[in-house]
Amino acid sequence: MKRSHKSEISVTVWVKPNTIPSLQARRCLELKNENEHTLTQIIVVHDQEMSAFFRIFDDKLIHKFLLMDSCYKLTDKYLLAMTFVYFKRAGFIIAEYTVENFFIALHLANTMEEDEVENTYEIFPWALGKSWGILFKQFIKQRDKLWVRIKFRARVHRNVCEEVMAIEPSHPLWQRNRPEHHGFAQRQYGDQPYSLRGPWASPVFCAPCHSLTMIRRDEDSRRKTVKTECEAQISDSCAEEVPKEESSCGSTHDTSMDWIYG
């Protein structure tokens, strides 16, 4: 059966500035895939698009939003990569790489990939502010519009996400690995009614994430003893910069946000 598969393959090609290899690369890939009976979908990523996408995270609100989502329930690296793929599929121009569009795309990514629907509600207060209760219908309409604009194709294959991440693999956004205990079919027996927290409250304390952070800290401290005095000083100063919110899921030192601090 395997041989008979005519699969759909997505390829991400990164185009560096001042180069035009895209056409050639596309042709090569087409030729290659023609023999394998595959349908090829090529995403050509331009350098300025990737930069524009990363610039969205310079916004203070988004920065805080990512920081507060310390368990990566809404914004793990795959969902973030998906938002970028949606931007590409929608054919957004650079000016459209905005905070608003980011929230809309993120909501669509969550709708597509996550079964925990309640989690996605948390996006509303961040994207729409205090009057989100009135504005969210419009937001949903915008999300549906984006879905139409990407020609109803909200599914993004894991490979595509990973290819997007591979363009700049060391970027802190791509270090946001969701812990396993926040995945799969989690049941919450006798759980409390869900309430949105938004930008005005600290995240709910998450014991598993907290213990995970404690383990990491222990490992870090062990490493520190081996470090030179100079290195130890740098690392200490970094730690001081991170706000200490013990209630925030335990992961007070969010390494994925270090890049924002420069």
């Binding site: 699969s7 759909e8 023609e34 079964d115 079919a185 049941r187």
Partner: protein, 483 residues
Amino acid sequence: MGPCFVHPEPSESYETKKEERRGKMEELRRWVTEAGWWVRRCCCGEEGEEERGKKEESREEEVKEEMVKIEELNFWKSNSSTSLPPAELDMDQLGTSPSGSQPHWFHTLQTRRTRVQRGRSNSDPLGGNNCQDHFTWRPGLQFGAAHSYVSLEKLGEGAYASVYKGISRINGQLVALKVIRMKTEEGVPFTAIREASLLKGLKHANIVVLHDIIHTTESLTFVFEYVQTDLSEYMSQHPGGLHSHNVRLFMFQLLRALCYIHSRRILHRDLKPQNLLISYLGELKMADFGLARSKSIPSQTFSSEVVTLWYRPPDVLLGSTDYSTALDIWGAGCIFIEMLQGAPAFPGVSDVFEQLQKIWTVLGVPSEESWPGVSQLPNYKPELFIHCKPKQFRTFWKRLNQLPYKTEDLAQRMLKGVPSDRISAQDSLQHPYFSTLPPPIMHLRDTVSIFKVPGVRLETEARDVFRPGRRVRPSLFPTNTCW
């Protein structure tokens, strides 16, 4: 949105409106007449099949050229062709049917077919013949537009949509129009977003074709290929278990579809007879991807409330937090038994525990030895279960007694309690149970129907509620001797 897709109301004066309405009524009448003509054509003989084959082959060529443009509405790709010649129906062979009467291989709709077997698609009422004489493409009609389809009758009502039988004004094909109810607060339901997004990437002979999507501010309509019936109705029409040969064909197609979606890391999560459409030829098409989702990204959140209770595997019933492709295999195994037996494999009544008890009656209550880690699952409460030992399937489902051992063997491999022990869809296609099928069936391209392989066809069912007077063959359900 209502069933009519034809007339958006203009906001003009009453007279103009009246005039326009009259014109539109005329148009509608014309289309209904044409639709009637198409339906009549559908029930008539089908010659010119070879021409159709050629036409489809040329389409396939176009598909290759369009490799990069897959985002476009190229729905007809799924109606693609095969390199195999169209199978001729051997009337002599059919004449030996034990029923003694003229075979009615179009069982479900009870329409007698004529000499030549038609192509794969059932959504084409013209059968590809002579259509060029009568039909001209209308340049004004486009995909994605509501007025390109005429709704004929309501077929059913689902949780979040109504389904209508319709006809495409673009190419005269019968279609199923799934009209999604839109809630102002939620916009497009997530089930619809997932269904369309997933189906857009799936092109397989055993997966229902999503032809078109019509999106307006008030409504969302999915245009699917029209398929005559579903497995649930088919089984109701032929009670007491299906012909073993037909079960094999249905199972092969179901597993072929599963193999395809699982290789793309997609889980269906709602396998049940109602969601498996059956064409008059016997083509099985997996439908309703509303609960389906991709499972390629690690640590996604998953709902545990998946799959209708009767077809839900024991690991999920026990509260396992992770599940994968084995989830669908269990459902397929249940459907396998149901087709043979003529009754659901595990017809639980109310809750999860009763459902589990039904399963333990056959598989035995699991222990840490038989299922490492089972005692850690939230719903594992051995004190609530009546102690049962594992049984041979044939002692519980008597039909298996009448069939070769390999039938029971495949069922047993599919219905394993431990999910990791369940056979994969890909391996199940290689199971000896399918070894009696003609070898070319194993090497078909995804978009090619198994009925394109010469000699593959549905057998006459022994029982038929529409023809109660028919003599039932003396030895019920003999093994197939078709090839």
